[in-house]
């Protein structure tokens, strides 16, 4: 905990500096760049790449959350129960699909650019959220559910006021997993011409410029770690509030 | 003979067990009873060195338990705990044979011993040998747990709240079975419980622990009739003392010639049961029999006289 409180602001400042003022780091990266080659990636600003990267992840994750939670609600209602074994199989098997393969397979259908990346992130992001939301909705404390019925809440009220709030921490864990995977997979999206921080890394790989690899890697890595950490904090807060 | 010689266990500033000395005769059941935090479980666990004593020692048949490695010592001492602690991934037979296997008994000897113990606990070996613990009822699991503790014919059997997880009816039955098996095998048993009723029913001797100290070590009758401290008296429960006393005395002690009406009682039943029968059915005497043959009767007056004599 103590380490976290010191480390967190340091990492945030480091990330901001790296994204907003990459030139500051030029002396640091210089030894890693090929002699005479560029040290700092300048074909696009790290800021715009970061924003585009995050926007892609946010859009895909938001869509995945809405769809996955809706599906989870449907299969946990009595009418959707017939689909539950099937949905479990799809989640189990779907998660074995490599994210890169999903991305690559989306290209033939959607062409290059942000499109296939968005679709791949969305499809792949569905699974952990759906799985966790179903777990959350099916492992509610029976006494609480009984009480909710007992005080006369109808089905909708039970869903909105009891089931969804109680399933929220577990669902959030699924969203966190999904977001972290999406952050990483979006990087690979640059191989299909999506504008993300992966562009910097790939440029580095293609020109043997370790300085580029490090800039891109560091920026994505810091985003991933900080977002992961922030979501863990939110989950902890929620769990504490619910006495879990 | 087990000699516990001023054994002490301290955790930081607190003395969990404070200079306890007692001697346990071979072939008897000794029940250590106390509230939680009284040090009774720590005392028991120091005997097989699951806890190392801070000072003092335990001798089994004259030999100090400190003279052997702890795990070797434990293989000679049976140990049964609350919630049975069976290995969920092993069959009943493998569970019971666990200690003999550690002692490298030959296979056929182990399986013969397993069958023998299952029969002793009225469980058909053919039916139960290959079952897994999860396929047994709570009472059966508990019996397998005790059978496992007895498997290597240990010098001593330690039991830590062995019946704690059982419901009342099964618990009474399990206590009777234990008594019965102990008498057949002549085992030496030390048992920890928080339940004075259980202590009085099972113990040849009862040791009452309070705040790490042994406050009284005596026969059940002595504990009830002459509690050494207020704490012991509390544990026994003043109101119930006469009834507890009567529960220790078999009807065969005061059976007399003469007729009596109504359903007969067994000569092995206690005076408490006879008293209950008298009060419930409004009789002044109950007929007594042994294995179906009438022995005589026990009268209400005789029960009262006997109760007064004890007090």
């Amino acid at each position: 905990m103590k380490i976290g409180t010191v480390l967190r602001p340091v990492l945030v400042l480091l990330l901001l500096a790296l994204v907003l003022r990459p030139q500051w780091f030029a002396p640091l990266f210089a030894p890693l760049a090929p002699s005479g080659g560029p040290v700092i990636y300048e074909r696009a600003s790290l800021l715009s790449l970061s924003l585009s990267h995050l926007a892609l992840v946010a859009a895909a994750s938001a869509a995945a959350t809405v769809v996955a939670v809706t599906l989870a609600i449907l299969v946990t209602r009595p009418a959707g129960a017939a689909f539950r074994p099937l949905s479990r199989t799809i989640t189990n098997m779907g998660q074995t699909f490599p994210p890169v393969a999903v991305l690559a397979l989306a290209v033939p259908a959607l062409g290059f650019g942000a499109g296939p990346t968005l679709v791949a992130l969305f499809l792949y992001g569905l699974l952990p959220i759906f799985e966790n939301a179903v777990t959350g909705l099916t492992t509610l404390p029976p006494a609480t559910m009984e009480a909710a019925r007992g005080i006369g809440l109808n089905r909708w009220q039970r869903l909105w006021r009891v089931e969804l709030p109680l399933a929220l921490p577990v669902t959030l864990t699924g969203i966190r997993l999904s977001v972290v995977i999406a952050l990483g997979t979006a990087t690979i999206g640059s191989t299909v011409a999506a504008r993300t921080l992966g562009e910097v890394i790939i440029a580095g790989l293609l020109t043997n410029n370790t300085a580029f690899v490090l800039q891109g890697g560091l920026a994505v890595g810091l985003f991933a770690v900080l977002i992961y950490d922030a979501m863990v904090q939110i989950e902890r807060r929620l769990a504490k509030r619910m006495g879990g | 003979m087990i000699e516990i010689d001023s054994i002490t266990k301290t955790y930081g500033p607190t003395k969990a067990v404070d200079a306890v000395s007692m001697t346990v005769e071979t072939g008897t059941i000794t029940v250590i009873v106390g509230t939680s935090g009284s040090g009774k479980t720590t005392l028991l666990r120091m005997i097989n060195r699951l806890e190392e004593p801070t000072s003092g020692e335990v001798r089994i048949n004259g030999e100090s338990t400190l003279s052997v490695k702890p795990h070797i010592l434990r293989r000679r001492i049976g140990y049964a705990i609350q919630g049975h602690g069976l290995f969920p991934h092993h069959t009943v037979a493998r569970n019971i044979g666990a200690v003999p296997q550690l002692l490298n008994w030959p296979k056929d000897k182990i399986s013969a011993r397993v069958d023998q113990l299952l029969e002793l606990f009225s469980m058909d070996p053919a039916e139960f040998r290959d079952r897994y613990p999860a396929e047994l009822s709570g009472g059966q699991q508990q019996r397998v747990g005790v059978a496992r503790a007895l498997a290597s014919r240990p010098d001593l059997l330690l039991m830590d709240e062995p019946f704690g997880a059982l419901d009342p009816i099964i618990r009474t039955r399990a206590q009777e079975d234990l008594r019965h098996i102990q008498q057949r095998l002549g085992s030496t048993i030390m048992l920890v419980t928080h339940d004075m009723e259980e202590a009085i029913r099972l113990g040849d001797r009862v040791a009452v622990m309070d705040g790490g100290k042994l406050v009284q070590y005596a026969s059940p009758a002595e504990i009830i009739a002459r509690p050494a401290t207020d704490f012991v008296a509390d544990m026994v429960g003043d109101v119930e003392r006469p009834l507890r006393l009567l529960s220790l005395i078999p009807l065969s002690d005061i059976v007399e010639e003469g007729p009596a009406e109504g359903a007969p009682l067994s000569a092995d039943a206690s005076l408490r049961e006879a008293l209950s029968a008298c009060l419930w059915s409004g009789r002044s005497a109950v007929p007594i029999e042994r294995d179906g043959t009438p022995l005589g009767r026990v009268t209400f007056e005789a029960i009262r006289a006997r109760a007064e004599m004890q007090a």
Binding site: A82, I90, T96, A101, V107, G217 | N48, I81, G83, E135
Partner: protein, 388 residues
């Protein structure tokens, strides 16, 4: 609740609707060469009526059988029938469409085929889930499915398809990259087990080590894969250049070594974490009893903690294996080889079939690994099923 609805399987209805809709989209694509976009051909136009009709009937019949609520075996039969029809249509269409066109023309399955394939596979999975086969039976089914796939591919029935033509031109490279891919995935798994398992056992015994290791490993896990692969390049390049003898062992900044190292680092968290969780899963009462009966710490580990934790430990290995099969694709980007080589070549050349040549085997490999590991996990749960 609904008396009439009881005989119809709700998922089956979904499959049938999706399947019929898929039939209305292009089933195959015909392109003038391997780069240009082709034009879609509907299922009943890919060949003459005599060739197409049996296939269409089989597909529709399969979907129809899937509508039944039970028996599950009949639904499974429906899935097999439908897949057979799909295969029939594909082979008929490929040869027939190619017969009418130029030398460089390519035919490939189009969206209709893929959707039908997925729908029928899901029908199969749904039926199998209902049948709940025992672990060994599942293994037999897997072998049968893979065997059928091998026979179909080996028979040359599909060799007219574009993706198979890509393969035909690269069969040597394909074999080489397949071995490389397996080497990366299984090799990194083995290395992670050799390092991670002892680490997990020690961490199980030492709380201080446990609280120090696990956060570091979860941190490693959050680093995006491309960044991790990229970062390994300078590090291993430096090792290769400075540590004597390292270069002779093949340690260098590009190729196999950085990919392998990155995969091992990713694998450590599931291996160590699940080993710790598995060893901690033994019931406390059983451990107390084990100690009380005189088992040494080593005996407790081997006889109680390890067997009881094995399913959880193996689950960790399943995660690692499936994850590494997928991540190994990225090795193709840094010259590490594997199926990723085809994927990224295909992306560079915008050659869809080359992408498929890399992606499809990866998916099949990952699915197979997942199923095999699931079977192993079930086999190690030695508790009888009705007991849990």
């Amino acid at each position: 609740m609904k008396s009439t609805g009881a005989a119809i399987s709700a998922p089956g209805l979904l499959f049938a609707v999706a399947g019929v809709a898929a039939l209305l989209t292009p089933f195959m694509t015909l392109a003038a060469n391997r780069i240009v976009a082709g034009e879609g051909v509907l299922a009943w136009n890919i060949a003459g009526p005599a060739a197409v009709t049996p296939g269409l009937i089989a597909v529709l019949g399969g979907l129809g059988l899937g509508l039944l609520q039970r028996p599950a075996s009949l639904r499974l039969g429906g899935a097999v029938l439908g897949l057979g029809g799909l295969l029939w249509l594909l082979t008929q269409g490929a040869s027939c469409l190619l017969a009418e066109t130029g030398e460089y023309a390519r035919v490939s399955p189009a969206v209709g085929f893929w959707v039908l394939l997925v729908v029928l596979m899901l029908l199969m999975a749904d039926a199998l889930t209902a049948m709940a086969p025992k672990p060994l039976m599942r293994g037999a089914i897997l072998v049968a499915v893979l065997g059928a796939l091998a026979i179909i591919l080996g028979s040359g029935a599909l060799s007219d398809l574009s993706v198979m033509q890509e393969y035909a031109g690269r069969s040597d490279a394909f074999a080489r990259e397949a071995v490389r891919h397996l080497g990366l995935a299984f090799g990194s798994l083995a290395a992670a087990v050799v390092i991670g398992f002892p680490l997990g056992v020690v961490a199980h015994c030492r709380a201080a080590l446990r609280s120090a290791t696990l956060p570091v490993l979860s941190f490693l896990q959050t680093i995006p894969s491309l960044a991790m692969f990229g970062l390994m390049i300078p590090i291993l390049g430096w090792v290769g250049a400075t540590v004597p003898g390292a270069r002779a062992l093949g340690i260098a900044g590009i190729g196999f070594a950085p990919a392998f190292t990155a995969l091992v680092l990713y694998s450590l968290l599931p291996v160590v974490g699940n080993t710790v969780a598995g060893l901690a899963a033994a019931p406390p009462a059983a451990l107390e009893a084990a100690r009380g009966m005189g088992m040494t710490p080593g005996q407790r580990l081997l006889r109680v903690e390890l067997p009881l934790g094995l399913p959880i430990i193996l689950t960790g290995l399943r995660i690692v294996l499936v994850q590494n099969i997928g991540l190994a694709v990225i090795a193709g980007l840094i010259g590490g080889g594997g199926f990723g080589t085809f994927v990224f070549q295909g992306l560079n050349q915008t050659a869809t079939d080359l992408i498929l040549l890399g992606a499809l085997p990866t998916v099949v490999l990952a699915l197979t690994a997942a199923i095999v590991m699931d079977i192993l996990v079930d086999l190690t749960r030695r508790l009888p099923e009705d007991a849990t």
